[in-house]
């Protein structure tokens, strides 16, 4: 078992013929993901890698292949439209990898997706992987291994780091989810925690947060009130100078809400194990799996 995707998930790739889209489509296919269709306007009728049919629109792709999940690699100015197209086409799960989507676009996209009861992961996220079954996005497959730890993170490469450590220590994962660091995204920590709580295979959860916002504090409250499974957390940006932007928009310290200290305190108050270094996840998770 897993969350959001499994070996039966049928994926349509929006932007399949672009630089990133084609590279990662191949990687997904190699990993075993069921990539059933691609979309590039004007290339309808072609085949990607002599095997995956390409369509002009997502609607055409869904109609022809029954795809139920979309992954988006289109450039930022077109990402909002691509998400809405996917949501309107009938897929139930959309993963938007694109980085640099204007936040105001997301204020419009978010209610569009919500109204249709569709789950959006991202934008500006690495996607997710259910080891051994399917990966949708760009998380390197070889760093993961099947097991019973759920991983959820606001950061891309930091997720890889932690998953890599877990795998090296022989701790496998049910699903690893990168929710992305943008101020407005489709899926938050709580959505993933709730899904992991429900997933019978997941026995513990590793959660990586960042400075900025209050998502981690709300996640901590959720863990305290609704979760029976152990959670271990980490906050990146403990040494970041206050008030400076650290890369993506997720990392603005605004007022008193959003410092690493506050978030760590919220974790501790909720009984979440706190990793001081990314590598500390290994021991903390191990102790909780016993």
């Amino acid at each position: 078992m897993s969350i959001f995707i499994d070996k039966n998930t049928k994926v349509v790739v929006q932007g399949i013929t672009g630089r990133d889209g084609s590279f990662h489509s191949k990687q997904m296919m190699e990993y075993g993901t069921k990539v059933v269709a691609g979309v590039t306007p004007g290339k309808g009728g072609q085949k990607f890698e002599e095997q995956v049919p390409v369509f002009n629109t997502v609607a055409d792709a869904v109609a022809a292949t029954g795809a139920n999940c979309s992954v988006i690699y289109v450039p930022p100015p077109f990402a909002a439209d691509a998400i809405m197209e996917a949501a309107a086409s009938g897929v139930q799960f959309i993963v938007c990898i694109t980085e640099g989507v204007p936040v105001l676009d997301m204020t419009k996209v978010y209610p569009f997706v919500k109204e249709r009861g569709v789950r959006l992961l991202g934008p500006n996220c690495p996607g997710l992987i259910t080891p051994g079954e399917s990966k949708v996005g760009i998380i390197p497959g070889r760093i993961c291994t099947p097991g019973n730890v759920g991983v959820v993170s606001r950061s891309g490469t930091l997720t890889y780091e932690v998953v890599y450590q877990l795998t090296r220590a022989g701790i496998g994962q049910t699903t690893c989810v990168g929710i992305g660091g943008d101020p407005i995204n489709g899926t938050n920590f709580i959505d993933c925690l709730a899904a992991f709580e429900k997933d019978p295979n997941t026995k513990a959860v590793a959660m990586m947060g960042e400075i900025g916002g209050t998502d981690e504090q709300e996640a901590a409250t959720f863990v305290k009130e609704h979760m029976t499974k152990p959670v271990v957390g980490f906050i990146a940006g403990q040494t970041a100078p206050p008030g400076r932007r650290m890369g993506h928009a997720g990392a603005i310290i605004s007022g008193s809400a959003g410092t690493a200290a506050e978030k760590i305190e919220a974790f501790q108050a909720a009984g979440i194990g706190v990793a001081k270094r990314p590598m500390d996840f290994v021991e903390l998770i191990k102790a909780r799996l016993k």
């Binding site: 630089r19 990133d20 990662h24 930022p76 100015p77 990898i97 980085e99 204007p102 936040v103 105001l104 997301m106 204020t107 419009k108 978010y110 209610p111 690495p126 760009i138 998380i139 390197p140 760093i143 993170s153 606001r154 950061s155 891309g156 490469t157 930091l158 997720t159 890889y160 780091e161 890599y164 660091g181 101020p183 407005i184 990586m208 960042e210 400075i211 916002g213 209050t214 998502d215 980490f234 990146a236 940006g237 403990q238 040494t239 970041a240 100078p241 400076r244 932007r245 650290m246 890369g247 993506h248 928009a249 997720g250 990392a251 007022g255 008193s256 001081k276 270094r277 990314p278 590598m279």
Partner: protein
């Protein structure tokens, strides 16, 4: 992206918000000429991307044109929070009857632009929020519908009781909202929104922060960037599509991804070191990016060791390896370098590095410890 007060006010004026007349001066003489032209008391206001200009002495009331020249002399060239004042705004001083605060930010929790309005204007809104939260009305806006008149009126009634002022304020809310949306803002503020003793409403100070992701599609807004008011290293990084923030330490960090970059800095601190910077080369890297990153980092004389921490996903580690090779061939390094690479195309990357005389590990903890030790003048462990 930050823009100056005078730029923000010019934008909102374009949407109909009334502002006092004003012009930019870069010399005291210009300030005098402008003040003379208005023939009335003026404010001379430092145009820098920093809060607390008033407290720092960067905003002065001037009764006469001579006065304006003197004050401009004092303010031009002044340092405010490490930034040099290159320009002042010379603007007609408004008679102030009352001062209100009106701001819009994009709120993560509601996922909407949210208005914050308060009759306690003229001061820092964060202070009002902390001390007297009841004095702020928050009004989220559903962008699908825009700002409805009833919400604009509600804010007007929160600030004023005279219907004429309520309507004037409601109109300004709608104009500010239109400016906010059209300019790709993450923040827009009027502080203070002044009512003069004769009942005129004026935006006396304005501020806007633009979402960097909007700049490609808003060339007119992008053109407002004033690079003379930014740190040169950050300008260079932006030109190279890197996110760079200079810090005070000696371990130069080159990382892909903001989260991992912060975690790397945290780990440098954890092992007793001090990061010299935050630098995120982002996804979809190419060798050129790495070359530029190294240029920026090696330009900092404080840097005693360079730490690469790359975990390839969308970033291909072979691109990074090629970048390191190219950059160091052109400009041999004067400080030690520690390279940690893993993920996408790791084998190719390792091969490239080895063939060019570099050693690289795939362990983050080990690499950070090594870089900290090297920065301290020690050998690699």
């Amino acid at each position: 992206m930050n823009i100056h007060e005078y730029q923000a006010k010019e934008i909102i004026r374009g949407f109909g918000v009334p502002i006092p007349p004003g012009e930019i001066a870069t010399t005291p003489e210009q300030a005098e000429t402008i003040a003379k032209k208005y023939g009335t008391a003026v404010m001379v206001k430092a145009q820098v991307h920093a809060g607390g200009r008033g407290k720092a002495g960067g905003v002065k009331f001037c009764k006469t044109a001579t006065d304006a020249k003197e004050k401009a002399t004092a303010i031009l060239g002044m340092q405010i929070k490490g930034l040099t004042v290159e320009k002042v705004l010379v603007t007609v001083a408004a008679d102030i009857g009352s001062e209100a605060y009106v701001g819009i930010i994009v709120d993560r929790a509601t996922k909407k632009p949210v208005f914050m309005v308060s009759a306690a204007g003229g001061i820092d809104i964060e202070q009002v929020a902390a001390e007297t939260p009841d004095k702020i009305l928050y009004v989220p806006v559903d962008v699908r519908y825009g700002l409805p008149m009833y919400d604009a009126m509600r804010m007007g009634f929160f600030l004023y009781s005279d219907l004429k002022l309520v309507r004037a304020a409601a109109k300004i809310m709608q104009q500010l909202y239109a400016a906010f949306m059209a300019s790709g803002c993450s923040l827009a503020e009027i502080n203070p929104l002044v009512v003069t003793p004769t009942g005129e409403m004026l935006a006396v100070d304005g501020k806007m922060v633009i979402d960097d992701n909007e700049l490609d599609r808003l060339p007119n807004i992008a053109a407002l960037r004033d690079e003379s008011s930014e740190a040169p290293s950050e300008v260079a990084a932006r030109h190279a599509n890197l996110t760079f923030i200079k810090l005070d330490g000696d371990v130069g960090c080159v990382v892909n991804g903001a989260g991992l970059a912060m975690a790397t800095m945290d780990l440098v601190k954890y092992y007793g070191g001090d990061p010299a910077n935050f630098l995120d080369i982002g996804g979809s890297s190419n060798p050129e990016k790495v070359v530029n990153a190294l240029k920026i980092i090696t330009a900092d004389p404080n840097v005693k060791a360079i730490l690469f921490n790359i975990f390839g996903g969308i970033t291909r580690t072979d691109d990074v390896a090629n970048g390191i090779v190219t950059a160091t061939k052109a400009n041999p390094l004067k400080v030690p370098i520690v390279i940690r690479l893993t993920g996408t195309n790791e084998e190719i990357a390792m091969k490239i590095l080895t063939e060019n005389g570099f050693t690289a590990s795939s362990d983050m903890d080990e690499a950070v410890q090594k870089a900290v030790a090297l920065a301290k003048g020690g050998k690699a462990a």
